[in-house]
């Protein structure tokens, strides 16, 4: 029993972390008023970037750096399109997914002359040395360093929105860009920052998939986690802890799903067990959603001289 709990806990963390990174990034971007339903694309490209960096320098940390750079690059395209050009955010997002899939595939061929996946690259193994710490050691030993980075990021994001100037400005810009402008803020600069910041976090999320546990990039390895991250942003109601909690909620049910499958002679078809995370989400939403709409007031709306404002 205890065994099962520690397993579930540590698997929850591992499986929730990439989603949490990306979702926290997505939340920041959305709070500034720029939606990105293509988080999947950022994750894909940066998972690839992580493998490339790690391969080129034979150093996993360089892989993380690369992933962040790629994440920033992809989100910079999104910012250019949505913020400067006033493009439709959902369209740009879908373009990101295509571009990311495409670039990582083309890149595999160009860099490694390989199809489908990269060669094995250095990665960040679990923090096994921590096993010696009493009581929680065995638990910590199962975790990837990314999990620790996540907690730093979590506190950072929370602090940013709670206390910093920037956090306040991001919220202002997302709720009422015109008000922000009349208060002397640059809507574009703040939105650029937020979107690019989401690229950084999406980059970490993607990197965790390819070099935090695994040691290579595989096409389609993101497998919908970007969409789950998107779900976590909404489910967490654009609140740092809520978003984190929702990501972990997905992590937990994914872990539970695997755990249930390992129970011998269980008569439930695997597909139904695999459905659990998604069904659970729907149920939780149905039970918890309030009559009140909590969105971002100016979310999804471009704000630029190219688009006439009213």
């Amino acid at each position: 029993m205890l065994n099962a709990i520690t397993y579930l806990l540590s698997a929850t963390l591992r499986m929730g972390t990439p989603i949490a990174f990306t979702a926290l990034g997505g939340m920041t971007s959305e709070r500034s008023g720029v939606n990105n339903i293509g988080l999947e694309g950022i994750m894909t490209a940066s998972a690839f970037g992580a493998a490339v960096g790690s391969y080129l320098f034979q150093n996993a940390w360089m892989g993380i750096l690369f992933a962040i750079v790629i994440g920033v690059g992809i989100s910079a395209i999104h910012s250019l399109v949505c913020i400067t050009w006033g493009g439709t955010q959902a369209v740009s997002s879908m373009a990101l997914v295509l571009l990311s899939t495409g670039i990582s595939g083309v890149g595999l061929k160009a860099l490694f002359n390989q199809q489908g996946n990269s060669p094995q690259v250095p990665y960040l193994p679990t923090t096994t040395p921590l096993e010696k710490i009493p009581v929680i050691g065995p638990f910590l030993a199962q975790q990837s360093p990314f999990v620790y980075i996540l907690f730093i990021v979590l506190i950072l994001v929370w602090y940013m929105f709670k206390h910093t100037r920037l956090g306040l400005r991001i919220v202002t810009v997302g709720e009422n860009p015109k008000a922000a402008e009349t208060a002397g803020l640059s809507v574009h600069r703040i939105r650029y920052f937020s979107v690019i910041f989401s690229g950084v976090l999406g980059g970490l999320g993607g990197a965790m998939l390819s070099i935090g546990g695994m040691n290579m990039f595989q096409e389609d390895m993101v497998a919908g986690r970007g969409y789950l991250a998107l779900g976590a942003v909404t489910m967490g109601r654009w609140n740092t802890w809520g978003v984190f909690g929702s990501a972990m909620f997905f992590g937990f049910f994914s872990a539970l799903q695997l755990y249930l499958q390992t129970i011998p002679n269980n008569p439930v078809p695997a597909e139904f067990i695999q459905m659990i995370p998604y069904v659970a989400t729907v149920i939780v939403l149905a039970l918890s959603a309030s009559k009140q709409n909590v969105g971002i007031a100016a979310g999804g709306q471009p704000y630029t001289k190219f688009v006439q404002q009213r």
Binding site: Y7, M214, D220
Partner: protein, 329 residues
């Protein structure tokens, strides 16, 4: 790039051109091995070879036609989801020949088919894992509950139960061939439950399984698939359930070129007997190889012979498996 040879996949000298359609390449799976066989034929036999990745099932027929338009006369179709498209195009182009590598198809003169008995090799894999297991628990990570995967599953389980009726065999499905992280987590879940040998047959998810074996530390091992995969994790992969299409395909093409042999309308069955599938011990880690007790090797060899000479009929479906277990007593 889909073309095997430098320029547009063609040879100008009129030699054989072979085309392949595959749902995706680089999933560490069958498709890659098929392509490896074609590449070998390209190098050594001078054929032209190329492939098209088909992202939608409904594209398959169109892709075959495109290949034929490029001048390919022998088409290789490695997976069952393209079966209908292949039959449709085969009827349109009676002058082209088709090699169907995913099961029996005897309905057309220009189609030859190959049926694999993965369950026979998996049986040996299960037997080996169960014999080596210290905990009495083993597992396997599969992708999707399709017939091919189920053959593997029931063969593996039957093999394990044959050598150790008390052995607990856990089976996990990822429902994906590419979600390597899920593959890894699946294996972790199995190791965590006490399994010490985990096999896999789930495309790229296998790579996750190998990594999980490494992270699980001492006393935890895994079995590979495809053409061996020993290079992916030499310290942990004890043996692999091998389905060596590369060699088989190369041979078939060579035979086709040299002798014009084409088993049109027929089906070639590839099992242990024919050498189409096998359980291959690690080729990259002598220490690991030597750690396998001789008597275990012998009893596996023994089982293999029994399968070849028909004493054991390996189950490939749930029904057959239940009957088989009942027959064990």
């Amino acid at each position: 790039g889909g073309s095997g040879s430098g320029e547009g996949g063609g040879t100008d000298d009129g030699s054989l051109r072979v085309g392949l359609i595959a749902s995706s390449m680089g999933t560490q799976s069958f498709n890659d091995d098929v392509w490896a066989g074609l590449e070998k034929a390209q190098e050594e036999l001078g054929i032209g070879a190329e492939y098209i990745e088909v992202s939608e099932v409904s594209d398959a027929a169109n892709s075959l036609r495109t290949l034929i338009a490029q001048g390919d006369t022998l088409l290789v179709v490695p997976s069952s989801e393209f079966h209908d498209a292949m039959m449709e195009v085969a009827a349109e182009y009676p002058d082209c020949n088709f090699m169907y590598l995913a099961g029996e198809e005897t309905g057309a003169e220009n189609v030859m088919s190959v049926e694999y008995k993965e369950n026979e090799a998996a049986f040996l894999g299960g037997a080996l894992a169960a014999s080596l297991s210290q905990t009495g628990k083993i597992g396997t990570v599969l992708a999707v509950q399709e017939p091919l995967q189920l053959r593997y599953q029931y063969g593996y389980m039957a093999g394990a139960k044959t050598v150790n009726p008390d052995c607990e065999v856990s089976v996990l499905f990822t429902n994906s061939y590419t979600d390597t992280n899920l593959g890894q987590e699946s294996a972790k879940a199995l190791y965590d439950k006490g399994a010490d040998y985990v096999s896999c047959f789930a495309g790229a998810c296998n790579l996750g399984v190998f990594n999980a074996a490494k992270e699980a530390g001492e006393g935890k091992y895994c079995l590979g698939a495809a053409t061996g995969q020993f290079d992916k994790m030499p310290d942990k992969i004890v043996a692999s359930v091998v389905k060596s299409i590369d060699v088989a395909l190369y041979d078939m093409i060579k035979d086709y070129m040299d002798n014009g042999t084409f088993n049109g309308g027929g089906c070639t069955v590839l099992g242990l007997k024919e050498g189409g599938v096998e359980l291959r011990y690690t080729t990259m880690n002598d220490e690991l190889l030597n750690s396998i007790p001789e008597d275990v090797k012998n009893s596996v060899e023994d089982l293999k012979n029994k399968i070849i000479n028909g004493e054991i009929t390996v189950p490939g479906t749930e029904e057959e498996y239940n009957t088989y277990i009942a027959s064990l007593g």
